[in-house]
């Protein structure tokens, strides 16, 4: 038992409880500033995580919890995302009627769930961390109790999320029944024997349903557009970045460290899912006029691109996923920060609300345009190199699996389709005529700092990708590829 390994998670939970307590003694007008305290605390924990090393994997809680390079990579990822999301929610605070301090605290509890998910080495921890994330997100989604869209998004997420977790638990029960263990390390040894048992395979498939729901992969993507559209903007941002990344780390752990022998036989299945997810997300995004809904469909498409890396089943593919998530983090957070500031008082989040944005605030216009260009995958921004790495990994796989070339064709088709709607947003910013509102938008300094950080990171990762690629290559050594 080595509690000190999970010191980061305990620090996040402690900070969340401290925010809840501080809420009791804070006068109402000051409550929104608690968000800055929360962001500072999470930022400090992020800096502390930079000092941590994980040369050899270390285990805690009866080997349920593992701290290795992969876990540490994702913990830093989640911590950084949470800092920006907390800054964003301070900006959003006046649109939430009551309980803003609870909103901050819930973001931190969801963060703790994600960090535990990064370290999961046992199906028990997979389930508990996933539910910690999901149940807090039910509340975060429906936090604007006065807005019908927010409540509706909450109910839809609740029903479909609970259904997915029921499948997940039943799947875990079947896996446990055959293998008599839930630990990934022990499953690795016994899976070879159990692989012939259809019940075991059924259980694993049900587990994949639960995880596919989290990352919004086809055919479990149905909730994503509605929930992205209805939720408060900071929740949507955290859902797009944190919740999706948590789904991917769990998927990688289950597929490549619990049952690598079985995963090898699932290449075709994963390839089909990846291709369908890319096509579905991109095609449905075309007619969208609501910016958050558009990003919801685009996030489905990006889950599809990342699934390419899973289907490639080599370390190049998995490290490409890590790189892609890093690029996606900065890009999506920049986009949602702009949405959060611009859509103040705009009902419906329509794209027309960003018309003429370059006259109202050049920084916001530039950030949103760069984010769209990076999501579309145009060099020299980060998104381009991420897609390049993923496709390269699939090409490597193509030598043994000719179907891969079809998958590459589908992915490139998806990228071409996505140019249309991403550049449509850029066009709306700079070249649309007759925008009603042309008053300057004031951007507070914490928002400016986070936007500049995201823009700098988008360019840095696009121009000098070596460093993050090396870190990602190191991190995926924890998987059995």
């Amino acid at each position: 038992m080595n509690l000190s390994l999970s010191i980061l998670e305990f620090a996040v939970i402690g900070a969340g409880l401290a925010i809840l307590l501080a809420d009791l003694w804070t006068p109402v007008p000051q409550k929104r500033n608690l968000g800055y305290a929360a962001a500072a605390a999470v930022g400090l924990i992020f800096l502390a995580s930079m000092l941590m090393q994980a040369a050899a994997p270390a285990y805690a809680f009866e080997k349920m919890y593992v701290l290795d390079g992969l876990a540490l990579f994702f913990k830093r990822f989640f911590l950084f995302a949470a800092v920006i999301v907390l800054v964003m929610s301070v900006e959003f605070a006046d649109r939430i009627e009551a309980g803003i301090a609870e909103y901050y605290a819930l973001i931190m509890f969801a963060l703790a769930g994600m960090m535990f998910a990064a370290s999961a080495n046992d199906f028990i921890l997979v389930f508990v961390s996933l539910e910690l994330i999901t149940v807090t997100f039910y509340v975060l989604t429906s936090f604007q109790r006065g807005r019908l869209h927010s409540l509706e998004a909450g109910v839809k997420y609740l029903i479909l999320g609970a259904l997915a977790s029921a499948f997940l638990v039943y799947g875990i029960a079947l896996v446990f029944g055959v293998a008599n263990t839930t630990n990934f390390g022990e499953l690795m040894g016994s899976a070879r024997v159990a692989s012939a048992r259809p019940v075991f395979l059924l259980g694993l498939l049900l587990v994949l349903v639960g995880l596919g729901f989290k990352i919004a992969a086809f055919p479990f993507q149905i909730w994503a557009p509605d929930v992205y559209q209805g939720s408060p903007a900071p929740t949507t941002a955290f859902l797009a970045v944190g919740s999706k990344a948590a789904g991917f780390i769990l998927l990688l752990r289950v597929l490549f460290s619990a049952v690598p022998e079985i995963t090898v036989n699932w290449t075709k299945l994963l390839m089909v899912i990846a291709g369908m997810t890319i096509l579905y997300g991109n095609l449905c995004a075309i007619p969208q006029r609501n910016l958050k809904r558009l990003l919801g469909y685009s996030s489905i498409a990006h889950a599809g691109y990342m699934l390419l890396g899973v289907a490639a089943m080599n370390s190049a593919g998995s490290s490409a996923i890590l790189y892609y998530l890093g690029a996606y983090l900065f890009t999506v957070l920049a986009a949602f920060t702009v949405i959060c500031v611009v859509m103040r008082g705009v009902e419906g989040d329509d794209i027309s609300a960003v018309a003429g944005l370059h006259q109202r605030s050049p920084l916001l216009a530039a950030s949103l345009s760069l984010a769209m260009v990076s999501l579309a995958g145009i060099p020299p921004l980060a998104g381009f190199f991420g897609k390049f790495l993923l496709l390269k990994a699939v090409v490597e796989k193509g030598a043994t699996q000719p179907g891969c070339y079809w998958l590459i064709a589908v992915a490139i088709l998806g990228v071409v389709i996505s140019l249309y709607y991403y550049l449509g947003v850029v066009r709306a910013i700079y070249w649309s005529k007759g925008s009603a509102e042309l008053s300057d938008i004031k951007v507070s300094w914490p928002i400016q700092v986070s936007l500049y950080a995201c823009i700098a990171a988008m360019f840095y990762l696009g121009l000098f990708p070596d460093r993050l690629v090396n870190i990602a290559m190191e991190a995926v050594k924890a998987l059995k590829l």
Binding site: F123, I124, F127, V128, E131, V135, Y138, V139, S142, R145, L148, H149, L151, E152, A153, G154, V155, K156, L158, I159, A162, L163, S165, A166, F167, V169, Y170, I172, A173, L174, F176, G177, N180, T181, T182, P225, D226, Q229, G230, P287, Q288, N290, R293
Partner: protein, 103 residues
């Protein structure tokens, strides 16, 4: 003692009934009840597998069920609170009516 496969059959039946309820019923509370049935089917599976396993002294199955019951309670609490909030606005708990977002 009742053999293992009968427990598994019962649990599969419970899961099927829950799934059918969750998919066909329109009342949000009934849907939640269906989902709870599915979770309990999984719990029953866990307990049965644990009881019949070669090493019942390893309490993995029991432990999972304890976690699962706790989480299901949290989920139900949040879910019911949400349904009450939405009932205040719509005056109904019928899921078909919560469909203002489309596209």
């Amino acid at each position: 003692m009742t053999p293992l496969h009968q427990y598994l059959f019962l649990s599969a039946l419970l899961f099927g009934v829950g799934l059918a309820g969750a998919l066909t019923r329109r009342n949000a509370i009934i849907v939640l009840i269906g989902i709870e049935l599915m979770l309990n089917a999984a719990n029953l599976n866990f307990i049965a597998f644990w009881r019949f396993s070669r090493h019942p002294e390893l309490a993995t199955g029991l432990m999972f069920v304890l976690f699962s019951i706790g989480i299901a309670a949290a989920e139900a609490a949040v879910g019911l609170a949400l349904i009450i909030a939405i009932y205040r606005h719509y005056r109904t708990a019928n899921l078909d009516q919560f469909d203002s977002m489309k596209g």
